[in-house]
């Protein structure tokens, strides 16, 4: 508990409140019932606050009860011995309840710590599992193919040699991208990235993403849709380029050849919505909710899966920009992956003074 004095103050307040209630009750109720009111206060304080506050509460309640109501009134003297039992019970109730609560709290804390540890462990083991799956396979290909070239290259036909070299090249490129993703995710999670914001045009970023991924998109039909008056945004261009590239890559990876991938931007109020829509088989409710999480692999993810960080990186980047990222099902079976970016006030446009 951050501020223990609050508990003590409440204990004192509760004793005072009970005394007032007791005074109101006194003409009509038996003194035992007034004791019950005090007992209730002790229970409440013991439930909500520390052991110290509970003990204070029971002492104050006993004292107030004794002083105000137990004959002879206005003294701390006790005529009837049975009231000593009342006092003892109040103290015992305070101790028992606050003891129970404290151990409950300790257990909850221990459970939370355990869960955190388990989550860290789960992430670590998923990371290791995906590294061993996603990096060891390409490493095996590279080792095998390059050793064939190095040790028996002259016995192979030129076409076979080229094919082997190309497979090493492809696997190495892939692997270096995966490693970059793992590093990037780590950097994003440890807060090691400071945004380098500058005015940017989303269609321009999209153009360079699509050019870079043209090989990856060669078998998809691409549609690009940006209104001419889309406002500029103040973002870290390199990071937003990455966020969008990860969405496009995800669409290319998980939808069949020949289907449409549509990249679009819309302005909605003070937000710009960037979407990558695909017309693949779609994903189920569970995946819609979790698809942006680290290491999430959808039910339909087949051999073409990556490390499972692309969308998580996208979301982390977008969140750094005070935007949000989500997936939604499209009518007809596709999926839209969208993110928003805040639109600031437009900068002063350049003026062209000279006449052309």
């Amino acid at each position: 508990m951050a501020r223990p004095w609050i508990g003590y103050a409440c204990a004192a307040g509760a004793a005072l409140l009970c005394t007032l209630i007791g005074l109101a009750m006194a003409p009509r109720f038996d003194i035992v019932n007034i004791a019950m009111v005090y007992l209730l206060a002790v229970v409440v304080i013991a439930l909500r606050f520390s052991r110290g506050a509970a003990i204070l509460s029971s002492v104050l309640c006993v004292a107030a009860f004794d002083f105000m109501f137990v004959p002879p009134q206005s003294t701390f003297t006790v005529e009837d011995v049975q009231y000593l039992l009342t006092f003892a019970i109040m103290l015992a109730v305070a101790l028992v309840i606050s003891g129970l609560m404290a151990s409950g709290r300790r257990q909850a804390e221990a459970r939370a710590a355990l869960m955190l540890e388990a989550e860290t462990e789960r992430i670590r083991s998923t990371l290791l599992a995906s590294i061993s799956h996603d990096l060891r396979t390409p490493l095996a290909v590279m080792t095998g193919a390059s050793s064939s070239l190095a040790e028996g290259g002259e016995r192979l036909s030129p076409a076979e040699r080229t094919a082997l070299a190309q497979s090493i090249y492809g696997q190495a490129r892939d692997m270096s991208e995966q490693v970059a993703k793992v590093l990037q995710m780590t950097r994003l999670e440890t807060g090691g990235i400071a945004l380098d914001r500058d005015w940017a045009a989303i269609p321009e970023i999209a153009g360079s993403v699509l050019a870079r991924l043209s090989e990856r998109l060669a078998h998809h039909r691409l549609m690009v849709d940006f209104p001419a008056d889309l406002p500029l945004v103040r973002v870290d261009t390199t990071l937003i380029d990455q966020a969008l590239a990860n969405l496009v890559e995800n669409a290319a990876r998980h939808t069949p050849a020949g289907t449409v991938v549509r990249v679009r931007g819309q302005c909605r109020g003070s937000e710009l919505v960037v979407s990558v829509e695909d017309f693949g088989i779609g994903i189920d409710d569970h995946d819609i909710e979790h698809v942006f999480e680290k290491f999430h692999h959808g039910a339909s993810a087949g051999a073409g899966r990556g490390v499972g960080l692309g969308l998580a990186i996208c979301r982390a980047i977008v969140q750094l920009h005070q935007g949000k990222a989500w997936a939604e099902r499209l009518p007809g079976g596709g999926t839209a992956f969208r993110f928003t970016l805040p639109v600031d006030e437009a900068p002063l446009p350049p003026s062209e003074a000279e006449s052309a």
Binding site: E204, A206, S208
Partner: protein, 234 residues
């Protein structure tokens, strides 16, 4: 001097990277001089008088940036830098210090050779007085400030011509935002990147066949722009 017999100085500390650069550049007909440290590289630059230098930004003895600045003190030779991924800042600093282009590690040899060719071509072209640019169906005469597309005149504003002229001076190579802003609008506008965003869109709308997927006014995200013309071989 013809391109094919050009001498290329490679200043790179990783021997495995030097090895594949040596064999691939050698196979293209270039003469390769290798230096594994910045100090050695500066000496080799002075003694071998290479036509182009490839400089790694992560050298062990001193900063690749210093190598670029020192070479620039006495030579306009094209300089290509090799930088690691996620080093946008370092790339921009190198370009602003006088490097002509960059390649990000890991790179395929095709990408590097394309940059080498563009840079050597650029070195040859300086002073050749060629002013006509061909961008598919568009032809731009920078000197006469005339542009046509499919034979019809296209109206370009004076600023648009200035941007094209600045990019064309480094044809095929990257020009940083800072360089463009300073050359077109002057040194008080170095932070006005939005000017570039607005003008590049205009230029693409006027001169590109598909403005959203430009082939000539190419964006180098986070760094600058690159003008790619059809007649790269002239």
């Amino acid at each position: 001097m013809t391109e094919a017999r050009a001498t290329i100085l490679v200043i790179e500390d990783a021997p495995e990277i030097r090895r594949f650069l040596r064999s691939s550049l050698g196979a293209e007909g270039y003469k390769v001089v290798e230096s594994s440290t910045a100090r050695r590289g500066l000496i080799d630059a002075a003694t071998h008088k290479p036509d182009l230098a490839v400089v790694d930004l992560g050298l062990p003895d001193f900063d690749g940036l210093d190598v670029i600045r020192r070479i620039r003190e006495w030579s306009p030779m094209p300089i290509l830098v090799l930088s690691a991924r996620a080093q946008e800042r370092a790339k921009i600093d190198a370009l602003d210090a006088g490097a002509d282009d960059y390649v990000t590690k890991p790179f395929g040899i095709g990408e590097l050779l394309a940059r080498v060719r563009a840079a050597l071509r650029h070195a040859v072209r300086i002073g050749s007085g060629k002013n006509n640019l061909t961008l598919e169906d568009a032809i731009i005469d920078i000197e006469a400030r005339k542009a046509t597309r499919g034979g019809k005149e296209v109206h370009l504003t004076p600023i648009e011509f200035r941007i094209i002229a600045c990019l064309a001076k480094h044809l095929g190579m990257v020009v940083t935002h800072r360089q463009l802003l300073s050359e077109v609008w002057g040194p008080t506008h170095l932070a006005d990147t939005h000017y570039l965003r607005i003008y590049m869109k205009q230029l693409r709308d006027k001169l590109e066949i598909d403005p959203v997927r430009p082939r000539h006014f190419v964006t180098e995200t986070g760094v600058g722009y690159r003008l790619v013309a059809d007649d790269e071989s002239t």
